[in-house]
Symmetry: D2
């Protein structure tokens, strides 16, 4: 029997609507570098969905690329970016931020989240430091929604973070690699217009949320980043056939698809969690989106690993292993049944 | 009437075989980052086509990204890369090489090409310079096949370049953004195995040669670049759904598609050139691949610009303009008829 | 009354022998960039003192410059450097390592020190990480002797660190900004030949140890860093009148001056500590070199601040402040008397 | 007989006044990093000499370091710097500008100089380029006074350059490594106040003009470069004992020493040139400062090389060599007599 694959939310291709659009427009001739009509239309749809008519929107290929390009563009050369020690840029991007010359200034996390008080404290301490001119200047704050732990910032938390950033002249940047799974969660109260209003820049994740690839960067204020197009090119992030990314987001923002595409995955995750807990499993911690974190004793871990592809999360003690399984927008009833049965 | 679009060779989507494969495999679940079976199979097919069983192969998104990532990986931090002053890395990549910390050491070109004598002369001059320890060390040579001028290196020229590089410890890197159009030219005598034998690294262009996006980097010697995967990640160039790139190259290397896909474009270019010359037009220079360079008086340029999207090339004098039109793998009989009629 | 200045060990100019030598050789004509006879002689004396006849030696201006240039030269572009979270490169170098593209991989400290077990644990964890190719590769270990806390690595500790580094292919680099104060401490059992044998690269501090400026980088193995001269130039660290740095080290390594120059400062620190403790003061922690860390209640801190220039160290609780005072090679009996009297 | 050394203008130590000041202040205790009274006083004297009361002034160690730090601070990350192809940053700084991520955009020179028309033409061409967003943006212009060819910009030329820069939003930066030899030339009509008025930033060279080391960066407008101190630290260019640099400039700007120190060297150069021409030698080209360029047939070059240390300049044809000899502020009557006799 083939192993079940719950390793991540980027195991499948693209949403059928996207595939259809790629097929039907395949031989159209368009101009390059995102100047085509599909991309323009996608931008307009995103502006509407974000209620941000001034937003400047760019389509890049992937998450690390987007993070490094935006953060480098947001920072002056002597500045660094504040992030949770568990932030993707802190841990799993091979030093891409440092490659651009900037330090990641890490602070402790609570299930992947940071808060306004921490920013306040960090900045107070920085400003009180008589030697601060010998240190990296904090220039921006990086958060992710949902976080790497599948947790969510509430609207109130995000507002406070945004205020703290404004107070200290820090730009707020939100990594939305899995944003559709936030929007698809019943616990979520942060909308796209909220993100556009409270962040300086954020990106709407495509790769993990229904596209073949692609992330939509939303610069919420015109002129905030001069010549971002050139910076994108300089970072090797400009797509010649930009329309392929644009078209995919065009589909995701037709008939509110993006706001709906994550729900099945989150609902599936909820059902799987419920079933596992009923079977006696222990959640390592609970997260309201599409990632499930389970504590297994090592024997169980070993036997399950023969039947399911999961992600190792951490080893909390000598005899247990925490694992992560992720559901995706493409999950089927059969998948849900299979995973519950196998556990 | 809609304008004819001959601006570039990346105006359409992907070859129908690629679209078919994307459709038929869309909901397969695979592992990420290019570790999937489609990519593995593509690598093996490319190794066979290149007669290079040891080659390490990576799939990246676009040309500038590939150039910057490979060149940065090939160079020590105090080294620069020698290139024609017309090389893509010298002119149209927004300083991506310098962004990685390396100087592009430019030398004069002949219709986009450089030669072994120039390398010899450059290195002799460098080695004779008593102050060379105060200058950038040449570490690699960048060429493109076809060049930005649509011209081709002959096998003999490439062999000599390769020997000159070996003599001086320079790594030879070939940008194959339009490689299919070289392979599809009757004048070409450089095969994929030749490139694999004579270059340290080259890339097989996808974006301009039939894919939605994607370039296949061929590192011809195992271990030449340690941990290139991590360098790719660090440069923001690692695709989460690596399989989408892998699958496209898998198709391009099934039934020798890549070696055939460029021919119609080159044949079309030949027919268009012949017709234009017959009509009394002057070629700015002749190139044996899919790019056509035409000298127009400015009035003609103006009137044609209303009917065809072309690329401005240069302004050789006060009253003339040189333009480029490019044919692509997707060109049709109707396209050929239309462009000839309009001129 | 003028305030006493115990802020640091770089408050004075240079050792009289150095001043004499600068005066007497001032109008000699020499070649530039450290190729002069004074520098050559200094290198030979340092090789002798380090019992390392193969060492390659370069003279740079200051500590941050030396750290960034050496570490950048030691690392491949995808590698980072392991350091104590209190390491100078982690905290007070304005992100100079990140500016060069490398991440500082911080680990906890014990009074400024790290140990072989931590390296072992870090590397085991790195090697066990299935996603390690997505993370920064550890390439080197940074330590300082004495540390930023004035503490010392014992020979045994250094040997174990060196072994751990060798085991995992990490290069060991030691920042010797205050090395003379280690050599001048009665507790020290690590000699220059020990450092040369156990480290890949270290530097012998001049700026804080008796020169006007300058640090001597000792690359303990020939060929370890190719073309370091050019890397020095590229980092803006090459002195045109290299002889001025060379001459100063020439003096420091004449008649074992360097091994003696720190003792008076350490002895003074010992006497001051003894006197302060006798007076009822509490050391924040004890360090065997030229830095004294004192815990003061805030009122005392305020009143003393009017009479002595000290360095703020940290605020351990609401009503206390820890301060640092530093003695230098130039300390006099009067200075010692003054500081004790004022406390 | 010892060879005469005319290789450069940094063969000796420092001006006697500087040495005296270093001796007399050696054991003073001061604060670090250029916050001391000697440096403050030097800054005030420089502001007065430049008639620029708002200028922000920093003391760095050497020319390459100064160029890379200032240019990196002046440019946005997607910008490059325009320079003569013969500019020091283009040729002999080991790629330090590229190390900071910026391209040097070279343009042709006339004996080391560029002019306003070239800037005009470059910018017109850049702005007319439909693909300019794919290229490096010009952000600043680099010139040197005197140039690497010993030539001088006239006030009128500098004014035009400055206007052209302003017109296109380019910052103008002048490398004054040998500035004292411009000020000491009878042909010069550009004063320090002119430089301060017409450049955004320039530096007053110390290393080649009478100090042991050190360059004084003059930022002519407050706030032009935010947190330059931190950028200096980040580039490894901050001196702990900043006072040593400050004190030297303090002396150079006491009693107008800086404006007088270059004259003897320029006068000596004039006398030497006259004598050599009288002896039948041919100048390779004439320059009005302290560098002399002589065309020698190769036999003569060989025989002279045994008696004088000169700098190879270039090889204009098969049987001739052009050499450079440089006089310095420290030149003596005996030196002049010796060099004339030997030729």
């Amino acid at each position: 029997m083939k192993k079940l694959n719950f390793a991540s939310d980027y195991t499948e291709g693209a949403h059928p609507k996207i595939i259809e659009a790629l097929v039907s427009t395949n031989l159209y001739k368009t101009s390059g570098y995102g100047t085509d009509e599909f991309s323009e239309e996608a931008r307009e749809k995103i502006r509407l969905a974000c209620e941000c008519s001034d937003a400047e929107i760019h389509f890049l290929s992937g998450g690390t690329q987007t993070n490094m390009t935006v953060i480098d563009a947001l920072l002056r050369s002597y500045e660094g970016v504040i992030a949770a020690e568990t932030g993707h840029i802190s841990t799993h991007e091979a030093g891409a931020i440092e490659f651009c010359g900037h330090k990641v200034l890490t602070i402790p996390h609570t299930l992947g989240k940071i808060n306004a008080e921490q920013i306040e404290k960090f900045m107070q301490s920085f400003l009180a430091d008589g030697n601060r001119e010998h240190t990296v200047f904090p220039g921006a704050v990086y958060i992710s929604q949902p976080t790497e732990y599948g947790t969510l910032y509430s609207l109130s938390e995000l507002q406070k973070l945004s205020e703290a950033c404004k107070k200290y002249g820090l730009r707020l940047y939100c990594d939305g690699a899995r944003l559709a799974y936030a929007l698809g969660s019943k616990e979520n109260d942060v909308t796209l217009p909220d993100l556009a209003r409270l962040c300086d820049v954020f990106y709407i994740g495509g790769t993990k949320c229904g596209t073949l690839f692609g992330e939509a960067v939303v610069i919420t204020e015109k002129g905030l980043i001069p010549h971002f197009f050139t910076t994108v090119k300089q970072h090797g992030a400009l797509l010649a056939k930009g329309r392929i990314a644009g078209l995919q987001f065009n589909m995701l923002f037709t008939d509110n698809l993006y706001e709906k595409i994550g729900s099945p995955a989150v609902e599936a995750a909820d059902r799987i969690k419920e079933a596992l807990v009923k079977k006696g499993y222990t959640l390592f911690f609970d997260a309201p989106t599409n990632q499930i974190f389970i504590l297994l004793d090592d024997k169980k871990y070993e036997s399950l690993s023969e039947k399911i592809i999961m992600s190792f999360w951490e080893k909390p003690d000598e005899s247990h292993t925490a694992v992560r399984i992720a559901t995706s927008w493409a999950i089927t009833e059969q998948d849900i049944k299979d995973i519950i049965d196998v556990f």
